[in-house]
Amino acid sequence: MSDITVNTPLTSGSEHRAAPISAIGPVAWLRENLFSGWLSTAVTLVLGYLIIRAVMGFVDWAFINAIWSVPLNANGVAQTQACRELHGSGACWAVVTEKHRFMLFGTYPYEQHWRPAVVCLLFIGLFIVSAMRRFWNWTLIPIWMVTLTAIGMLMWGGVFGLPFVQQERWGGLPITLILSTFGLAFAFPLSILVALGRRSNLPAIKVLCVVYVELIRGVPLISLLFMASVMFPLFLPEGMNIDKLLRAQIAIILFAGAYLAEVVRAGLQSLPKGQYEAADAMGLSYWQKTGFIILPQALRMVIPPLVNTFIGFFKDTSLVLIIGIFDLLTAGKTAIVEPAWQGFGVEVYIFVGLIYLVFCFAMSKYSQGLEADLNRHRRR
């Protein structure tokens, strides 16, 4: 019924105006944030210059002037004169080229290095599968059991024609993954029990949990590792030795358990009292209430601090260096003990740091996704 047709000009009679100064898009963003006034422009230019200098310097050092390999002499000793003549103007990646297998797998027999390599892949596969929500049911338990058995068989050997390898020859990345994976996998359920126990009405359980958490949190991890490594063996009868790695592993589990318990307890306390009362009113038993009502909400709430603690412990496993276990970082440090390679620590630390970064960054990104996913109902 309207007489306005498609071609009717909306503003008849007015002149065409110039397009407004762009308020969106990258140019506008730059103008708004970096060049909004003379001071801002000056700061931008100075900082830009410094950043470009630093990046160019790094590229020069890490790639253009870098040496990627050096020859070995007749005795198998690396000839690092070429690297030393750089005087720090270029990276000596030759140390990583030469030592990468030692850093990754420690003193594991050289011909058998494929076994720890497969173990690392199995661990990564296990992490990926466990992270996928479609596996969040009972199938995860057999998957973990089968994978961990396979990992144990590969590391120790002695079956299917694989030569037996003593634990003290294990090293590098598998040690870091074993300590952190087992540490967190056992510490997490333990921490939930302790957190529940600490809020329990039964005085004995409550006291026990409080004492455990406060005792463990009261001492540094390094002293717990010392206890496990130095004092504990003296209390065992002669000839009875509990594996050094297992002792360190138990210390890490106990330590991580105490810290995680406090994180979980924070989640439990953040729930409104009404949730508990409503569950009670429905006639649910304690475990039903906890399993169906309380924990799903409480854990969802504490994902960021949980992952924070996870990442912290992944890196804290490197403290086992003080008891002579070659984890990834210790293997890296040991690689540069050899006189020929002394002084190339930066390259080694960058290599090791990148590996840590990959794992920690993956954990961090995954937790962000998980948090957004699980807390979708809260988003406004």
Binding site: G76, R169, F226, P237, G324, T334, Q342
Partner: protein, 348 residues
């Protein structure tokens, strides 16, 4: 199954209680026999505690194989027992957990550049069968500093690592020599060396062997001088649990055998031929051609010949691991050379 494990848990607890209450050392042995040797033979391998990474003495190479001066001592004992240098497991130990590892039986012996001291020999419950390396604490300065003796370091800043006896020796020496200094204490070797090279301190102190290794790793070793003063005695050697004399004897005579082999000119290359041809009676006894010295130690008659064929004599081990990192023979030369202190009692 359950019964058994519970039983062993009780036994373990009981033993722990007994050990702690009665302060009975776990390594106390009845006289006679060698429980260590019995355990090693039953296990089929020697377990040897080594440094977790010290250039020249014990470090894994790029293939993860242990190499070094101390490592060869472990291999030599393994050869004496099993005629096989691979029948040895190396347990990396740190300065903190090395003694517990030996006391608790986690390792059979330590070959971990450990200084022989009275307290370690007595109250810690160890025996030091031999001195495999005479070391001592010294100073390194930049040659451009123009310092020739340690006493000229008055007022200097000295880089030192904390924790071990090094720092204590430095303080005691300075007090006795009336030298004042400013300590620059840095934990990690690489960092303390970096600080010294960068000029944050005038001198760097640690054992002379360590100084030599650091010096040889620098781009221009001639720019650094190791001062002649040695302010402490650091006799390093393998150690075993006190009370097992048979095993201590084996470790002791393994060392003496290596030293005597150098004295008599027996090397890895010529040991076969010397066993066959050398007419000197002591050489014949050492290499097991005559006499029953091996039997007295409880090993094969040709034990020493096999060790030398595999690792070489003392001088060869030294030349293979310590000479390349710039350590001179010095006091570790044979007693037949001036200043040398390595001496082996007669093999008869």
């Amino acid at each position: 199954m359950k019964q058994v494990s519970r039983h062993s848990v009780f036994r373990m607890l009981g033993a722990a209680v007994v050990a702690s209450v009665m302060a009975l050392p776990a390594w106390a042995q009845p006289a006679g026999g060698s429980p260590t040797l019995d355990a090693i033979r039953a296990r089929g391998t020697l377990v040897c505690g080594v440094n977790s990474g010290l250039a020249g003495f014990a470090q894994p190479d790029s293939r993860g194989e242990w190499r070094g001066f101390d490592v060869d001592y472990c291999r030599a004992v393994a050869i004496a027992l099993f005629n096989d240098p691979s029948k040895v497991r190396f347990v990396p130990t740190t300065a903190q957990n090395r003694f517990t590892a030996l006391q608790s039986g986690e390792v059979d012996m330590l070959a971990r550049n450990t200084t022989w001291t009275l307290s370690r020999d007595t109250s810690l419950g160890f025996d030091f069968p031999a001195i495999s390396f005479f070391d001592g604490q010294g100073f390194m300065v930049k040659a451009s500093l123009g310092v020739n003796t340690a006493r000229e370091l008055d007022g200097a800043s000295i880089c030192v690592q904390p924790g071990t006896t090094t720092e204590q020796n430095l303080t005691e020496w300075a007090r006795a020599a009336r030298v004042t200094f400013t300590p620059v204490v840095i934990e990690r070797l690489e960092e303390v060396v970096g600080a010294f090279v960068a000029g944050r301190c005038d001198a760097f102190t640690t054992d002379v062997s360590g100084l030599a290794a650091v010096r040889s790793a620098q781009a221009n070793p001639a720019a650094y001088t190791i001062l002649p003063d040695v302010i402490s005695k650091e006799p390093l050697g393998p150690l075993v649990r006190h009370g097992d004399q048979a095993f201590a004897d084996l470790v002791r005579w393994t060392h003496f055998g290596l030293v005597a082999a150098e004295e008599f000119g027996i090397t890895a290359a010529n040991v076969q031929q010397m066993t066959a041809n050398d007419a000197r009676p002591e050489v014949q006894r050492m290499l097991g051609k005559t006499g029953d010295l091996g039997k007295m130690l409880g090993v094969d008659p040709a034990w020493l010949a096999r060790i030398i064929a595999s690792t070489g004599n003392y001088g060869e081990i030294f030349a293979r691991h310590l000479t390349p990192i710039g350590i001179q023979r010095g006091p570790n030369a044979l007693w037949t050379t001036p200043g040398g202190q390595q001496y082996a009692p007669p093999f008869r």
